[in-house]
Symmetry: D3
Subunit: 117 residues, 6 copies
Amino acid sequence: MAGRVDEFNEFRARMNQRILETDNKPVKRFFGVDTLTYEPGALDVRTKEMLGLVASMVLRCDDCVSYHVQRCKEEGVSDPELYDIFSVALVVGGSIVIPHMRRAVAFLDELNEKKRQ
Amino acid sequence: MAGRVDEFNEFRARMNQRILETDNKPVKRFFGVDTLTYEPGALDVRTKEMLGLVASMVLRCDDCVSYHVQRCKEEGVSDPELYDIFSVALVVGGSIVIPHMRRAVAFLDELNEKKRQ
Amino acid sequence: MAGRVDEFNEFRARMNQRILETDNKPVKRFFGVDTLTYEPGALDVRTKEMLGLVASMVLRCDDCVSYHVQRCKEEGVSDPELYDIFSVALVVGGSIVIPHMRRAVAFLDELNEKKRQ
Amino acid sequence: MAGRVDEFNEFRARMNQRILETDNKPVKRFFGVDTLTYEPGALDVRTKEMLGLVASMVLRCDDCVSYHVQRCKEEGVSDPELYDIFSVALVVGGSIVIPHMRRAVAFLDELNEKKRQ
Amino acid sequence: MAGRVDEFNEFRARMNQRILETDNKPVKRFFGVDTLTYEPGALDVRTKEMLGLVASMVLRCDDCVSYHVQRCKEEGVSDPELYDIFSVALVVGGSIVIPHMRRAVAFLDELNEKKRQ
Amino acid sequence: MAGRVDEFNEFRARMNQRILETDNKPVKRFFGVDTLTYEPGALDVRTKEMLGLVASMVLRCDDCVSYHVQRCKEEGVSDPELYDIFSVALVVGGSIVIPHMRRAVAFLDELNEKKRQ
């Protein structure tokens, strides 16, 4: 799993750019709405990112989980708070969430390791 | 949809009691963990209920959505905040979330109506 | 199931209007992208509606299925073509699609019955 | 929920017949494979019906759950065994399975009631 | 991702053969129905493959997406048409479809690259 | 795929330990209930593991499938019985289960190979 953070971010950025080069309007607009959704509204960005994380986790999307774990950290969500989010995902979504939680914790450990360096 | 709130709460309470009468240990313990998960931890109850709501919505479980909408209201989540939660569910989970959102809004309207009476 | 078509259309229209009255921007924009997606592009409307139907069916969203069955009929998709769409949904999504197919056929029968009147 | 058992069985039988009247070959063959799957093989019918029940429950298909609960009872699966199946579904699939479990227990209660009469 | 196309096709072919060597009848028959479903019916093969692609994408099955992207190309579906299919999948299935779309586009790019050589 | 069995077991054990080091109570209790669920009850361990396998397969969780295939083998479930479980998963969950079945069979082949050595 070494270097999963950089590899994930590089592939994500490259392919998103590749997708947005096309002239498919609904796809472009969808990406726009996606960005808009996490901007401050009645709820602040931090809460919205936590919502995005738990939603990604119960839907078992590893890449979405990685992205929102990273964003949550940037918004100052602490590790014990992240575990609370994981616990809601686990109870709502069941034991099939566990493998995704294992990968989320490995990803989080790598993020924390990078920060310490 | 008139009276959906009372009907839902009555059926839910009656069947939960019926289930907990059995002596199946894993089922009972699961219900215990489910309750524990929404108690205050690193995150407060209000935030946890919002997490439970968005998770229920992307997994498209009407009864779970009804339950968490009710709990969110009890924890002081405002209607514009609920719509922000709905918007995250909608963008993460796609247009198949819309029918559940329609029923969630109808349920919320009934809850608000009851309060005014 | 008598009158399911009218009841569905009435509730859908009323709640969509109710939702769009709010001033939640991401929700409104999402509804806009949803509409845009089924407008003519590289593929025509008829094909897009067939895609919307099969996607709704494997995701097992009865209301979405009802909506797209109706739209497909308006775009001139024949009943044998609808059954071909159902067959793809059935094979890709498995026997859990069957109850939704039963309701889709009941809905389609009611639509055809209304037309004959 | 009174009469849900009869209503479910009547609608299921009527619509299955309606579907099999069509001449869509893949649909017909799929129904054939579905029947074949639950016939005795390396595993007996009773075990296969238990597998069908837990699979239906984690996929949250109420009609499939009702059908397999009924079949399990016919194959002599006891109520405590059914609760063991429910417990696996609950732990694997999470709290979103609970509303389906409530309806499964209500259905089972009605089945048991009918038997006593 | 270099060589993902060949690796995918090789593993798929080898394991399918391995599975069909067994004498489990329902499994074999299921594979037969799966093949039959995409043969010409009321809808032509091209349309059926597009339906298979969008269904695979909303169900977020990377291997199924790779397979149907390849088949669509063989049936003459153009890249702008593929993007229209992706847009329906994206709107129906939400932002959790995006990582699968990124991988689908990377796979498509590799397919187009191979053709040019 | 060489060595997938050892790699899977090593990562699973290491990350589970890592997760259980935290002091998040709901997560710990959930892991407890998960273990309890597969202990002998009205149904024996062997049957419960078969239920866990089919549930994991229709929910398309490769790691869960690997785990339960291994546990089933330990409980004396034969290969033809495993294929019967796969056939129920395939018919209930549809062709999107096929890629997971291919990986399950590859995993099973590796397990059988290790045993012969």
